[in-house]
Symmetry: C2
Subunit: 514 residues, 2 copies
Amino acid sequence: MINKVGRDIPDEILERYGKEGYNGPDYRNGTYYVKAAPRVRSRMEGSGKILPSLQEALLKCGVRDGMVLSFHHHFRDGDYVVNLVMETVAALGIKDITICASSLGAAHDPVAKLIEEGVVTGIQSSGVRGKIGEAISGGRLKNPAVIRSHGGRVRAIEEGDVHIDIAFIGASTSDEYGNARGVGGKSNCGVLSYSMVDAKYADHVVVVTDCLVEYPNLPASISQVDVDYVVEVEAIGNPDKIVSNVVRMTNDVRELKMAEYCARVIAKAPFFKDGFSFQTGGGGAALAVNRMLRPYLEEKNIRMGFAIGGITQPMCELLEEGFVRRIVDAQCFDAASVKSVENDPGHFEISTSEYANPMNKGAYVNRLDYVVLGALEIDLDFNVNVVTGSDGVVRGAPGGHPDTSAGSNCSIIVAPLLRSRIPTVCDRVVTVTTPGECVDVLVTDYGIAVNPLRQDLLGAFREAGLPLKTIEELRDIAYSIVGEPEPLEFGERVVGIVESRDGTILDVIRQIKD
Amino acid sequence: MINKVGRDIPDEILERYGKEGYNGPDYRNGTYYVKAAPRVRSRMEGSGKILPSLQEALLKCGVRDGMVLSFHHHFRDGDYVVNLVMETVAALGIKDITICASSLGAAHDPVAKLIEEGVVTGIQSSGVRGKIGEAISGGRLKNPAVIRSHGGRVRAIEEGDVHIDIAFIGASTSDEYGNARGVGGKSNCGVLSYSMVDAKYADHVVVVTDCLVEYPNLPASISQVDVDYVVEVEAIGNPDKIVSNVVRMTNDVRELKMAEYCARVIAKAPFFKDGFSFQTGGGGAALAVNRMLRPYLEEKNIRMGFAIGGITQPMCELLEEGFVRRIVDAQCFDAASVKSVENDPGHFEISTSEYANPMNKGAYVNRLDYVVLGALEIDLDFNVNVVTGSDGVVRGAPGGHPDTSAGSNCSIIVAPLLRSRIPTVCDRVVTVTTPGECVDVLVTDYGIAVNPLRQDLLGAFREAGLPLKTIEELRDIAYSIVGEPEPLEFGERVVGIVESRDGTILDVIRQIKD
């Protein structure tokens, strides 16, 4: 079938997974469903959760072929837990494991070998980078990878689309009864938002920590009532690598120019009033926007109601200085935000379900005025691709992109028109990861395009004298400089499924041609 | 069948409710079950939860005959919400409602009339006092009342023994999207622990508040993701009445004597070491124990690891002064504790599932060293009755009594040997609400009895020179003063079922004879 973003979703895929094609952002709004529930084991003893090794934990949880194991990625490129657990799984001779992670990155390159060996046959993740992405696009993973947004992942768990057999939760601190936090130890990651949902819906829950602390470890991100076992290891991650090159400050003139355009877009849109809400990602231009907003806030004498998302130092500084009333945090992107969530009384941890699940009774993204996001590609329908690279290989992550785009009053894509002679604006993106009807504004270094669905914004920006272009004009400029790109050629085999946040199918990813 | 506390549970009751008789405190420890799950409606709009009236909320939630409505009792005798909602239900002509409350008291006398009218045909509660108790014992409620401990209630909800159609949550503050707290408004009750479970397992959730605050209301006890509607009313409760006569300080010489005995019992038991954990109830002697413990703490130079439970001013003072490391709070019993939980960084709110559910992966009561509790009656097997009065009428509440007795290393009952010429110690309690095998020590004004199952304690107390008696000796003293009481006569009809915390049946309550 051809879905609402014009993508041909093979019927066999829809049938195999019992799914529908994407049918618009509000298709499932206001509908009823019964939530999923785990099968759990009661514990009336006040001790006995500490186990000497991950192997012991896997055996106690009854690990067996075909299980689904879950992980969080709060340590990003510094995570050790996935590899520690998966090595142990492999050593036990277990096969056919599905890894359901909130994201996977370069830290998890060793998993590619486990894919070759059939230890891992399924990947469900937001991000897939590095060698895992190559293994997927090369057709070496047995089952199609399932790519979900952050909101889509927790939706899938809460609706029972995926049932987690064992959740492994790397925790900066834990007590011996499983109360776990993202702060207080030698390896701090700030919040444990992604794992909060896993802890509630997995049959078995194992906390993995490198810092056991006195009972009770409060306030607990993960509660003892959901934890079966606690395993102490030497190190759960390297917090220095939470700041990967995805999250960086910029001195790049082009990025600063886009940031300035973006700040003007925000200030001139009708939502720029006291109490507005805001999210930026961790890209260079996006981060710069945080700082460039300040004079506009001062000029208008207003402040943000809340900032949300992946949180970085510039936003924590705005909080400290009173420009933001609350930070609502689902992921810390740097050391400053880790410190802030531990110490600043205006900075709060939330679960990823609270952040972005489209099927609960109201996520934070529903209340968002502005979001600033990136794109690898964006096409004439404003469809965005943040997952497949220009060679067709999986190397990105939708993350909260589709969730915040759908939820916000004004979603802004900031991207250079060209990257290494590859146009960002194009006729048709390789893979649709955020539907164009949810994308409102595109800011490039060559001008600003507004989605024609948003005549309100177009009017406001025209009046404010912003450098407006149509998206076709931007595409034409790009093509005039570097030429129209050759279409990629793919094999027939579906190696990845891009789920919309509501569980319908947005697009499929096919095997690359060798 | 005759259950493990020697009570004859009618087979028809066991069959009707698909239950087993009580079979020991650890009968279901380590067993597996699938958790319950609600049927919920998604909301992708960022607004629209505010409704103008309770009637509108009831209609939007599809109220109809036979539904189960739930309530918390954090306002105790000052609660307005049950009556406000139930009046509205009655006015809509709805019948056959089951009220599933964490407790009901004198504030809810108007419900007795709704029982007569068939609006209310089921009561599931920990406490039942006042006119509702009379209506139950008089046989006027259509279905047997189900009496559960606090842990047993949340267990029943989480296991699906009771499915809540609509949860009403009186909240001291809420924002328009349903983030609700027990502090910050004009009617503060401190924590919303009882409602935390209802919010997760009810199909529909309505927050009722008398103080709407700016979004987002954080840290939220009840999260927006679980709330369908918010209704503002003039007042949700009278916080002055949180301190009812159940919670009081004492000058009574007899109570002070028992408190002193109790403090010595605690100090001489082997668990009195640095980091021990502790709970007292709100009775006169129990409260006095908090203060009498201090010299023993000072003498031994130790402090409590955590105090839990219903929290009162004396415990908050011990926290402030450094004698307690953490307070873990499932209910505030007075204004001082409400203030403390809002402001003291060592004082934490937990859910009632975290407090006491025997079927989750580990509740706080499992980690308890000492608990100090009351009793209306205690018999030669140490079985305790805290529900039926000397006239056989329901007028009490197990509350956390059975949970903490089962979980703690040393459970201590403090009760005068006689009350108005009625013996507390007796051959056989009218109703078993806490099994004797979970009760370790009885402190009376005539001496201290230790359960023979606890030879370890008996040895320690004998060595310490405590005034020990056997429970038979205490019974003999009581009977020698006031005579042996005449056995109560009951009708045949079962009007109440006392569930053990694990869902098995501990006892039944029969209709009183007119």
